[in-house]
């Protein structure tokens, strides 16, 4: 296969950046998208041109590092991670446009690499259950209905890639934040701190400069892990009940 690549090149955070076009003649349908870029990079280095920088690591769709905006979609045409996208999803002769995630809260570092530490800071604000090591009760002491555990698990599978933000015209991080809030709101272990947690995480999210949610559901459509927008609804309920008095909250709940 042969493809034409239009890739965003930007030397440093303050550089203006621009698209650059490359003809790629050595593509096989079995290659992963990132392997296709590996081959391009080898050719560039040989020619004396700096290789294209992009984040990646596990190449198994689980670490959340890879983050390319391909032909107008985060992670490209399929609902998967960039590293799990294969060239058989493209046609011979295609032109492929590759950009970094674009969001105020994810500043560009170089080429296709962006800074997603805002996500970590949101998690630091409240994405945990306050238990110290040691002294935990027996794991089977609190039974959790399978259906609840499964729902919590589904929310917990978020890989922190940021595609939801990149997909959203408002660059909202609601899907990402709500996934963690939901996981802990569903589990009995997470309930004692649920009120505090949602407040702190939402406050940090706002402070980082992510946009508001206007329910376009673009995030869900592009999320490689299929995180559901019902999590956003749950977070909104959690947030609402957290602003009620603790008595009402305990009685009214948000389940």
């Amino acid at each position: 296969m042969k493809v034409t690549l239009k890739i965003w090149r930007q030397k440093s955070p303050n550089d203006k950046g621009a698209f650059k076009t490359y003809q790629h003649e050595h593509v096989s349908p079995d290659m992963s998208f990132l392997e296709m870029l590996d081959v391009l990079n080898t050719e560039l280095i040989k020619k004396g041109e700096e290789p294209v920088h992009f984040d990646h690591d596990c190449r198994e769709g689980i670490c959340g590092a890879c983050s390319l905006y391909i032909n107008g979609h985060p992670h490209g045409p399929l609902q998967t991670t960039t590293c799990q996208l294969h060239m058989r999803s493209f046609n011979d002769g295609d032109t492929i446009v590759i950009e970094p995630w674009r969001a105020k809260a994810f500043p560009i570092i170089k080429d296709l690499v962006v800074d997603r530490t805002a996500f970590d800071r949101i998690q630091q604000a409240g994405g945990y259950i306050s238990v110290n090591t040691g002294g935990a009760p027996d794991a089977n002491e609190i039974p959790i209905p399978k259906i609840v555990a499964d729902e919590a698990f589904d929310a917990a599978t978020c890989i922190g890639c940021g595609a939801c933000v990149a997909a959203c015209k408002n660059a909202s991080a609601m899907l990402f934040v709500s996934a963690k809030v939901s996981q802990f709101a569903l589990l009995p272990q997470g309930k004692p701190e649920r009120k505090e947690r949602v407040k702190k995480m939402v406050a940090q999210m706002d402070a980082e400069g992510f946009g508001a949610c206007t329910n376009t559901k673009a995030c869900e459509a592009e999320c490689p892990k299929g995180i559901n927008v019902t999590n956003i609804a749950r977070m909104n309920r959690e947030f609402f009940s957290s602003s009620l008095s603790s008595y009402e909250y305990q009685v009214g709940g948000g389940d």
């Binding site: 440093s12 096989s28 079995d30 290659m31 992963s32 392997e35 296709m36 590996d38 080898t42 280095i45 040989k46 004396g48 700096e50 920088h53 990646h56 690591d57 596990c58 190449r59 198994e60 769709g61 689980i62 670490c63 959340g64 590092a65 998967t80 294969h86 058989r88 170089k110 690499v113 997603r116 530490t117 970590d120 998690q123 630091q124 409240g126 994405g127 945990y128 259950i129 238990v131 090591t133 040691g134 935990a136 009760p137 027996d138 794991a139 089977n140 039974p143 959790i144 209905p145 399978k146 555990a149 499964d150 698990f153 599978t157 890989i159 996981q183 802990f184 589990l187 272990q189 997470g190």
Partner: protein, 641 residues
């Protein structure tokens, strides 16, 4: 140098309890006077940083990733072992201990493994309390599965994403300490050297991967939780950035490197598809619970998965079930891998390259229904489909062994301290608990055991012994010297301006290691490989081509410095494989086999840990032997027949 493993005296079941009692404690009010550096934020690093922060130490934690959550632990799929005996199927701490020592082919320390089995139960409690959503039964209690090498169901799991859920649990615990100000996080920061002053580890040198800035950090102790080095084979199931540099640079500063040749080859990986291949994808071992491994009785060239259904039962060879009737498809990894190699060597391999065997779910789907299989393995099946284009619900998977895990690593004593005082190694970076072969679902257990339940005790003993005054600041000349060395090394790499890319060298190294130091090894091949690597190294330092500068994000430079270390490690692996003229666990020496091709261990000569001492550039390393003593487990030739 005399190796002291510091294994406590007394009956095996009491050693750890007694030891904990005998360890010195740091007074709670004094903990804040101690600084601890943790390198790595995988299961081992994140759990250690969180637990030490909770205790009150000042922790600095480093990762070269953009976020702690990207550590390679995230990719672990199948599960984590624990001797909970929730299934009432006869499990116990002693049985987990016994299985792990046996599974490791009697090349691990009994005392370490027993401790691991003891704390395994606490790990599950801890994780559940953190909100890790393990799989559950309809009654609401935790669910278990069985894993290769065990006849009880003791593996806890979270669909096919156990590592992710455990890591996010530890990440969250660490985040809480970051919020509390007890842990300071440095991302995109790579450790490039350990600083040793007066024989003790005093800090590290790092490079900020965005700005290129070289910096010093000092502390009372340094914990390396930097993972394994399977990427010495270039193609492996490990994440691309996994490397040996942190451990290797510590090795060069005096830390002994133990059993470097002990590598695990995992039987269930997606076969190689072409030269462009950048990594191999593991299909969780849990698949062997329900999938049946087979090849045709007589070889059929280029047999495709979609044509497998046409092969009648009578013409299929379920070779694991045939050769190992009691364990069948659940034999340990090394046995399953080697047997796959044998049938491919016989010309009975399948797929376009003939380097693959089938893993077939049709019987399981008939028996349990597609829904059940989907619930267990849905994401793995999807991943396989995505990568290969074949649908495993309809046609068998094709699998082939790939390098997966490195049992070898920095030598540590019972306290997880390396041979350099104040320098510790946790998780896959140390050599400690898996002997010559790691059982499935035991690495996650070990990483979390080390970080949550061992180091908080053993580190305290060291710190209390040296006292908080015993610290060297970054103004000490040793830091400057080390920084200069690191800077020179980087400048040297950039100044070569040769013709070959880093990846080209890495790939070549991988091919040499896989061919001569992979699934089966012999003296002539190893000797040849050693020479080949020496030549490759020389060529690398003459001809590698790295563009870009030192003071910016430069992925090629990062890779080059890691590949340079991997090449040196490769040589040591070969030395180690040559020294060990026996077959044990993942290490198969052709000179030491039974007539029907099974491994033959040699306990009289090789029941030791091989710990290597660095002696300077291009000098042969010196071997130190730690004799292994077995007081509880009877040494037998492993048999899974």
């Amino acid at each position: 140098m005399k190796l002291d493993s510091k294994i406590p005296a007394g009956p095996i079941a009491e050693k750890w309890t007694k030891h904990k009692f005998n360890l010195k404690l740091v007074n709670p009010a004094n903990k804040r006077k101690y600084d601890v550096i943790v390198v790595g934020t995988g299961l081992a690093g994140a759990s250690a940083a969180a637990s030490l922060g909770e205790l009150g130490y000042n922790v600095k934690v480093f990762t070269f990733h953009d976020s702690p959550r990207r550590a390679h632990s995230i990719a672990a799929q199948g599960g984590i072992n624990a001797a909970k005996n929730y299934q009432n199927d006869g499990d116990s701490i002693y049985r987990l201990f016994y299985d792990t020592v046996k599974g490791g082919d009697y090349r691990a320390r009994e005392a370490n493994v027993h401790r691991l089995a003891e704390v395994s139960v606490d790990i599950i409690d801890q994780c559940v309390a953190q909100g890790v959503p393990f799989a559950r039964e309809y009654g609401g209690l935790l669910s278990n599965r069985s894993f290769g090498g065990a006849q009880v169901s003791r593996t806890f799991y979270a669909r096919g994403q156990t590592g992710q859920q455990l890591l996010l649990g530890a990440y969250a615990a660490m985040n809480r300490q970051i919020a509390n100000g007890k842990v300071k996080l440095f991302t995109r920061t790579e450790m490039l050297d350990v600083v040793v002053v007066d024989g003790k580890a005093r800090g590290i040198i790092t490079r900020n991967l965005i700005t290129g800035k070289i910096e010093s950090h000092s502390a009372h102790a340094v914990l390396l939780c930097t993972g394994g080095y399977s990427t010495v084979f270039y193609l492996s199931t490990n994440a691309k950035a996994c490397n040996v540099s942190a451990a290797w640079r510590a090795h060069k500063k005096g830390a002994l490197f133990a059993n470097p040749c002990f590598t695990q080859i995992h039987p269930t990986c997606i076969p190689v598809s072409g030269d462009h291949q950048s990594k191999l994808t593991l299909m969780s071992e849990s698949l062997r619970n329900d999938g049946r491994v087979w090849v045709p009785k007589t070889g059929i060239k280029g047999l495709k998965a979609k044509d497998a259904v046409n092969i009648p039962e009578a013409e299929r060879d379920y070779f694991l079930e045939r050769r190992y009737p009691s364990f069948g498809n659940l034999v340990p990894r090394d046995v399953a891998s080697r047997n796959a190699k044998y049938v491919c060597d016989e010309g009975r391999g399948v797929g376009p390259t003939g380097l693959a065997v089938f893993l077939d779910f049709s019987d399981a789907i008939k028996r349990d229904g597609r829904k059940t299989i989907e619930a267990k393995y849905g994401n793995l099946f999807d991943m396989y489909h995505q990568i290969t284009g074949d649908n495993p619900y309809e046609v068998p998977m094709m699998i082939f062994p790939a390098v997966h895990y490195t049992m070898g690593g920095l030598w540590v004593d019972y306290n997880l301290m390396t041979s350099v005082p104040g320098l510790y190694a946790l998780g896959e970076a140390n050599f400690s608990d898996h002997g010559a072969n790691r059982l499935g679902a035991s690495a996650l257990m070990q990483g979390l055991a080390d970080g949550y339940f061992v180091i908080p005790y053993t580190l305290g003993d060291y710190l209390a012994t040296i006292g908080w005054n015993d610290k060297v600041g970054t103004d000490h000349p040793a830091f400057k010297e080390s920084m200069d060395q690191v800077t020179n090394n980087i400048n040297k790499l950039l100044s070569i301006k040769g013709n070959k890319t880093v990846d080209e060298f890495h790939r070549q190294l991988g091919l040499i290691m896989w061919e001569y130091c992979g699934m089966s090894r012999n003296e002539a091949g190893l000797k040849k490989a050693k020479k080949m690597i020496q030549e490759l190294r020389a060529e690398f330092w003459r001809d590698v081509k790295i563009l870009g500068g030192a003071n910016e994000l430069n992925a090629e430079l990062e890779k080059a410095s890691r590949v340079a270390d991997l090449m040196e490690l490769g040589e040591l692996m070969i030395d180690d494989a040559r020294d060990r003229n026996e077959s044990c666990g993942g290490h198969f020496r052709e000179e030491s086999a039974t007539e029907d091709g099974e491994a033959r261990r040699n306990d009289d000569q090789y029941a030791y840990v091989a710990a290597w001492e660095y002696k300077g550039e291009n000098q042969p390393e010196v071997l130190h032997k730690e004799e292994l003593v077995f007081e509880n487990v009877k040494l037998t030739q492993r048999s899974y027949k």
